[in-house]
């Protein structure tokens, strides 16, 4: 199952712009046909191309969100977990404070301050995913902080920085990867939601969320417009969820 979805994912990765120019054309509301694989939308844009290009946004958002959230979250979590004490308390209270807010609210806040668009969406969602990473990394560090080989490394004169990132982090890598793939899915879903609300990626850049919203208006005229982005979103999110679960089964047989 995972393998199949994974392949679909890779196919999505053919987001090397197939027909980006064809996004603005003449004939509107064409049904699926030879010319346009999935038909055209209300503006006459080829749905298929939009779908594929939409994958670009999705992947961009997912990757960078995970990168930002992952790097910041790991940095915070590792420092909190390794040093403990006051540092730990302060960092975790900040994280807790952020977690007290519903995720979308924070994203909305950031977007209302900085404006809409792809970059800001990524920043907002990145910040949203920091707590998840921070907590996970922190617990991992707490677990390994007193391990014998850490003490042995200290006995060799290793500096805290070296111990944290050369010794402890690799042991957490598997959990990190799992969290990353699941965050990817969540990020895409959130981006879809934001775009649906009109707060994420702006037209004419296609995004599946936005396509859903546009399709809503014409549901009686051309219902399939609604289905295609929906399917894509489902496939992508399901796919990454499955990958995450699968990875967890392989790498981390002990947890959950």
């Amino acid at each position: 199952m995972i393998l199949f979805l994974f392949t679909v994912m890779c196919v999505s990765l053919v987001w090397t712009p197939y027909d980006p120019i064809k996004m603005i054309r003449g004939a509107a509301f064409q049904p699926a046909g030879a010319d346009h694989l999935l038909g055209t939308d209300n503006f006459g844009r080829d749905i298929f191309s939009r779908l594929i290009t939409g994958a670009q946004s999705a992947f961009l958002v997912g990757t960078f969100t995970v990168l930002i959230g992952g790097l910041i979250g790991t940095a915070l979590g590792s420092v909190a977990g390794y040093f403990g004490g006051i540092t730990d308390e302060i960092i975790m209270r900040v994280i807790d404070a952020q977690m007290a807010f519903p995720g979308v609210l924070i994203a909305l806040m950031i977007i209302s301050i900085f404006g809409t668009g792809l970059e800001n969406t990524i920043i907002a969602l990145g910040i949203m995913s920091v707590p998840r990473f921070a907590r996970m990394v922190r617990s991992g560090f707490l677990q390994y902080r007193d391990a014998d080989f850490v003490n042995a490394a200290k006995a060799r004169g290793a500096s805290p920085l070296r111990i944290m990132y050369i010794h402890i982090l690799p042991n957490i890598l598997s959990q990190l990867v799992i969290t990353a793939s699941l965050s990817f899915a969540t990020a895409i879903l959130s981006e879809t939601g934001l775009s649906y609300l009109g707060l994420g990626v702006q037209p004419p850049t296609p995004s599946w969320g936005m396509m859903l919203k546009d399709a809503q208006q014409y549901i009686y005229l051309q219902p399939e417009q609604l289905i295609y982005p929906g399917i894509m979103i489902t496939i992508m999110v399901l796919g990454f969820n499955f990958i995450g679960d699968g990875l967890r089964d392989i790498l981390d047989a002990g947890s959950e």
């Binding site: 391990a147 080989f149 042995a152 006995a155 060799r156 004169g157 500096s159 070296r162 690799p170 042991n171």
Partner: protein, 336 residues
């Protein structure tokens, strides 16, 4: 040359300090192997962790000085300590499997010890030094072994790797904390021989911590017997083993099973080591388990005094108290 003076290490529990090690003093010269022997809980491991600066968070050094090669390092900051560790003072831990990072090749872990203390050395140099020390530790096919992971090695090989890690920077002193406890007897002998060889060839002082009297007798020149955080007897190994003076040491030696004792009931020392917070600072720590305790033993902790051949901490052997006891006995006699 390595020296410890009057070391005291306390655990903090509920606001008060409980000493785990009191008044520990010893000197180790080049080419010397010192043994520290005692039951579990006597403080031998904690004292070595204190020397390395690896004490757990709730323990700290409350008194005493530590010197390596004349340099006092008692109050060193973590950064300065890190410089010493692995370079002048090294430690070998008990369990070789857990002392090695499972995700890094053994060769790289050894090289790391070199790289940390020689940050400007080229990678090839570190690798060459690693190969050399691995060979010295009796490891075969070093180039291949370098690239293997801990779980691919046997227990004896792992411990050799750990020893190699400790030795690569030619430290002044190695602290070996029960290095052979996790190994079987034949490998044990090999490792001990290795330590002996390295001590005589490289001049590295060795502090061997163990609860196994046989090992101590085998390779140590001098030995410290510890009980409940105190040194109760210290001196030359052969003398102590042939003429132990402290009741605890006597008990320990009597407990060693030998072929001659076959068929007889094993000698045991009744009781157990008291937990930290139950230890008294005002009377002899061995009181409850001593077969020959008397009233004078409640009058405070005895000092470590010379009995001619070595040092013992016991009122019964302390010359001053003997005189006192004799006088008291005489007085009691004349009265009666």
């Amino acid at each position: 040359m390595f020296e410890v003076k009057d070391l005291e290490v306390c655990f903090r529990k509920k606001g008060s300090d409980h000493p785990a090690v009191t008044g520990l003093s010893y000197k180790v010269d080049h080419n010397e192997i010192l043994g520290i022997v005692g039951e579990s809980g006597c403080g031998k491991s904690i004292s070595s962790l204190a020397l390395m600066g690896l004490l757990p968070k709730n323990a700290r050094v409350t008194k005493g000085e530590m010197f390596v090669d004349g340099r006092r390092f008692t109050d060193f900051s973590p950064a300065n300590l890190a410089e010493l560790r692995g370079d002048q003072i090294s430690m070998i831990f008990q369990e070789p499997m857990t002392a090695l990072n499972p995700l890094i090749t053994v060769g790289r872990q050894i090289s790391e010890a070199y790289e940390i203390h020689h940050p400007h050395a080229p990678k090839e140099e570190a690798r060459e030094m690693t190969y050399e020390i691995m060979r010295k530790c009796g490891l075969p096919r070093v180039e291949q072994l370098y690239r293997e992971y801990p779980h691919q090695l046997s227990g004896g090989m792992r411990q050799r790797i750990v020893i190699a890690m400790a030795l690569i920077n030619k430290p002044e002193v190695i602290i070996a904390d029960e290095p052979t406890t996790a190994l079987d007897v034949t490998i044990q002998a090999q490792i001990l021989n290795l330590l002996k060889k390295l001590n005589s060839e490289e001049g590295t002082s060795v502090i061997l911590i163990s609860h196994d009297l046989g090992i101590i007798r085998e390779i140590c020149e001098n030995v410290i017997v510890m009980y409940a955080g105190h040194v109760v007897e210290s001196g030359n190994v052969d003398i102590i083993f042939s003429e132990p003076q402290h009741p605890y040491t006597k008990g320990l030696i009597a407990s060693i099973p030998t072929a001659a004792k076959k068929g007889q009931k094993l000698h045991t020392i009744p009781g157990t080591v008291p937990p930290l917070y139950k230890r008294s600072q005002t009377e002899c720590c061995f009181l409850d388990r001593c077969g020959c305790a008397s009233q004078c033993c409640r009058n405070g902790v005895p000092d470590l005094t010379s009995v001619g051949t070595h040092f013992v901490r016991c009122f019964k052997t302390d010359a001053r108290f003997r005189k006192q006891a004799e006088q008291q006995a005489k007085a009691a006699e004349t009265e009666a």
